[in-house]
């Protein structure tokens, strides 16, 4: 019943056998051990599971792993490059854009796409841009500020959105967890 | 939750009535029906596997017919239970002959749901129920035609 899927996550290419019903988010967490991508709901409302698929943000609980054949995926773990935080990560740190931090990975990945599409968003555009991501702690005000901080600093020529590193061989397979 | 609708058979009312009353046809028309046992007149124990989004699962329950008014009206009572919750419902079916080769069945159903099923709200369930109703009649229709052809 298992199907083979080959995809690239944070620059590393993996080839794994998965059950067709495995959601991308479970594949990332359980099969690849990338637990930075969180799960907050079962109706695709919360956005905690947001990742980038071929540069587009996607709630990874809305797709099956087997649909990701050949895809390039970036998760929160792949955003900082060589120990240097991505401007959005830095912005969240600077502006207190997180409290418990549970929504944060998804929120950051969504913000990456937001700034990719609109380098200088207004407050209202930011608020609409992250509408699909729920945060129960911050009241969003500092998240908005974090994204504004990132927009300013990104435009000053700080780090770009990292491209995937040169593909590596699947390093150390982590025993798949159901 | 309430659902209603109608379905038009291209067949005389007698034939439509007969197929609707046929337990074998009933079994075949229940989606994902795995077990179907007669436990009394017009009363059956059943197991259904339904796979629609979050209400996916196996439901066990009972289905029975009542208030039969030959060629005109009957009632279908369903009660089922699965890990996603329970469903108790009744459907009223009214047949109207629109000519020698056309019969309209109006159905009106009301269901009580519980557990996750209820949590999902009628908003999500109504379209599912509607589809299941439609599938039910399509299947009956198919069987009716098959019978007609084989005759």
């Amino acid at each position: 019943m298992k199907k083979t899927v080959k995809l690239t996550v944070n620059g590393t290419t993996y080839e794994r056998d998965v059950e067709p019903r495995t959601l991308l988010v479970h594949f990332l967490r359980d099969n690849l051990g990338l637990t930075g991508t969180h799960i907050g709901c079962d109706t695709s409302q919360c956005g905690a599971c947001t990742v980038l698929v071929n540069g587009q943000s996607l709630k990874s609980c809305t797709a099956f792993a087997v649909q990701m054949q050949g895809a390039e995926i970036t998760t929160i773990e792949g955003l900082a490059k060589e120990g240097e935080l991505h401007p959005i990560q830095q912005g969240f740190w600077e502006m207190h854009g997180l409290q418990c931090g549970y929504c944060t990975p998804g929120m950051i990945m969504q913000s990456v796409q937001l700034l990719d599409r609109n380098a200088n968003p207004s407050e209202e555009e930011i608020r609409h841009g992250i509408e699909g991501n729920l945060c129960r702690c911050t009241g969003y005000q500092n998240i908005v500020k974090s994204i504004q901080w990132a927009a300013q600093h990104k435009n000053q020529g700080a780090t770009e959105v990292p491209e995937a590193d040169a593909p590596q061989v699947d390093p150390k397979p982590i025993s798949p967890v159901p | 939750m309430e659902i209603s609708g109608d379905y038009t058979f291209k067949a005389p009312v007698e034939k439509v009535w007969a197929i609707l009353m046929n337990s074998e046809a009933l079994k075949n028309s229940l989606p994902g029906c795995e077990k179907f046992e007669e436990i009394g007149p017009d009363s059956y124990d059943m197991t259904m596997k339904v796979g629609v989004g979050p209400i996916k699962g196996t439901y066990t329950g009972r289905i029975s017919m009542a208030d039969k008014d030959e060629l005109k009206h009957y009632k279908l009572l369903v009660s089922g239970q699965g890990s996603a919750g329970f469903l108790n419902g009744e459907g009223l079916f009214d047949l109207t002959s629109k000519g020698p080769e056309e019969t309209v069945v109006n159905y009106k159903g009301r269901a009580n749901v519980g557990g996750t099923l209820a949590g999902l709200g009628a908003r999500m369930l109504a379209p599912v129920a509607k589809k299941m109703g439609n599938d039910f009649f399509k299947s009956m229709d198919k069987q009716l035609q098959a019978e007609t052809e084989s005759v």
């Binding site: 059950e19 967490r29 359980d30 637990t35 930075g36 991508t37 969180h38 799960i39 709901c41 079962d42 109706t43 409302q45 919360c46 929160i76 773990e77 955003l79 935080l85 990560q89 740190w93 600077e94 207190h96 997180l98 409290q99 418990c100 931090g101 549970y102 990975p105 930011i126 608020r127 992250i130 509408e131 729920l134 945060c135 129960r136 702690c137 911050t138 009241g139 969003y140 005000q141 500092n142 998240i143 908005v144 025993s175 159901p178 | 979050p54 196996t58 239970q81 890990s83 919750g85 329970f86 009580n112 749901v113 519980g114 557990g115 996750t116 209820a118 949590g119 999902l120 709200g121 908003r123």
Partner: protein, 801 residues
Amino acid sequence: MLTANPTGYVGSRIKRREDPRLVTGNGNFTDDLTPVGTVYLHMLRSPYAHAKIGSINTAAAKAMPGVLAVFTGEDLKKDLAGPIPGVPYGTVQTVPAYYPIATDKVRFVGNIVAAVVAETRGQARDAAEAIEVQYDVLPVVLDMEKAVKDGSPLLHDEIANNICTEIELGNDVTEAFNTAEVTVEHRFVNQRLVPNALENRVALAEFHQGDESVTLTVTSQNPHILRTLLSGEIGIAEHKIRVVAPDVGGGFGSKIATYAEEVIACIASRKVKKPVKWTETRSESFVATIHGRDNIDYIRMSATKDGKITGLDITAYANMGAYMSLLGPTVPVLCGVIVPGPYAIPNVHFKAICVYTNTTPTDAYRGAGRPEATYMLERTMNMMAEKLGMDPMELRRKNFIQPDQFPYFNIVALNYDSGNYEAAMDKALEIFGYNEMRKTQEEARKNGKYIGIGQSTYVEVCGLGPGSGMTISRGYDCAVVRAELTGKVTVFTGVAPHGQGQETTFAQIVADEFNVPIEDVTIKHGDTEMTPYGMGTYGSRGTAVGGGALMLAIGSVKDKAKKIAAFQMEANEEDIVFEGGKFSVKGASGGKSISFQEVCLKAYIDPKMAPVIEPGLEATRYFEPGNFVYPFGTHLAAVEVDAETGNVKILKYVCVDDCGKQLNPMIVEGQIHGGLTQGIAQALYEEAVYDDNGQLVSGTLMDYALPTAAELPHYTLDHTVTPTTVNPLGVKGIGEAGTIASTPVIVNAVVDALKPLGVKDIQMPLRPEKVWKIIHNGASANGSAGADASVVEQHFGEDNK
């Protein structure tokens, strides 16, 4: 008291030390942990709100692939030492046994009827589906006011009239109402809410065969309390239980109680001899994790014609849900004790009737009782102002407890230690531009626009708590401060932050006190094997109480360090001063000194000290405050109601809060933002809705409206600083203030906006559809919270006319 130090961390906007791991996906949440050999637990839950369990057939489930164990209520009972405890208060008849898996009856949708352990999540779920349960459905009890009437069906046979307990506080108000010049009375519904921390609950139990101990890694706000309670539930002695709360994704009160699933996971792990993990889904969480609020409040207020409030009388029905959750009856107590708010009211009577219904149990949710109190009080203040023809702010000003009245006993229970309510109010009025806004409102009304101004002046009670003021247990917390050999400092705290930022604020304190770089300080928490007994994080107590313990422990370490320094410099201990990171001899010229780091080194290795000073440099201290703390403030909002859509837009939100000294203003602001949002969401969006059969119909995030970034305003924050001496830091809690204050602000504003239509009250949440109907069909179109005035009249009788 805090020392002023050149390091200057305290009071600064220090970036959080929790964040680097959390923004890079390196957090450690419970569900991120999967020890080798982990198996999975799945719960079969009742789809009925009230039913007898006829029979359960687990044979088919047990035979399914991967299944390791199946538990029914009876199976589990054999391994159970006790049911899930609730803390009684008031006239409790008896605490009904709440078994983790129901045995005889199910009493709410979501009540567990069986549990399956299997090798994979899917297998566990599939097997749960194969369990056949026969239910005999019973009549459902939902309406509290009907539930207490004779003849209503009973949830628990042994509990008459479904009354969990009654709580009565305050003094006799009869005279006040008999002689009242003006009275208002009303019935408010404080709707049921679902906490919805973004991380669902997770329990990972690892039973260790070797020494028969168990480690439970769990989403908890109070690991120590959980360990004690767990011991009573699973029958493993406390010293053989380790409870670990790693990174926890928000709690808001929902992760205080002890839950069935944790108990089942521990027992299951012992049985299958493997780590057992249970991860809640969101839709499961909606029925399985505690709910909050759900009160019906009858309130009447008396005053003189010129606006002096003379009496307050309240009967509150508090919905406990189906069982007594840990703090179920404590929540209405927290409501009653603060119900007079910041006003000097000579006569106050509060009665709570706690009622069992066929719903998910309720417990503390952000604010816990204090939002309910503040909501009814601040709404009633506005009704009274309206009746007196006064501006709502003037009525408040007229009744504030004055600064020279502190300490002030509020008649009901509490001794407010300090406060300056008018100062906060004036500041808020000015920032908000209250008078100008009134003019804007007037103009808008002329143009057929609905603009309203809402207000709330609140005082809250938090920093739980003084031993003398708590109902069940002393109220303290602890800290271990360990100066390491190399001069670094490790702190173990008994509080369990999960977003509140104490890894940062506590490090700020330590760094300042020892004059070391903040990088040299680590704050550890959330592991019962690491820290001494702590009460955890809830009731805005983390910094007020845990920070107090930290200060004491720092003091003790400093004392010992001085002893060492004296020995090293051959001076008298009393002559040693610690300044700028150096110990020196008072008055001695020549500048002989020894640094903090050197003292640390000597403490651990100097053989010369062997005969005189015990090695090591650490201290464990507990702090138990003598009183609660009483943060306060004024919140103001302007809203516009769109007549076309019924949508409420918040034009402006200003709050001035007083939480005493701010250790890190950035973190304080974050706490307020989050609190405001949850309070505003109660006013506008959130509501747990049950149908007549006790089915939760708002049971997913599709149906239960959590606020998103798009509908919220930008908040304007400011503060006043009124010191408190209740704790060594001079701080008051700030985690709940926003939630407590903001709900009535919004409702007051919307009611004010719709005043031209004759609207006096609208029942929360003020969703567009409801508001639209009122605009288009008139004030009577939609049940105002008071429902029928006759109901309220009936309740209080005719004596106060």
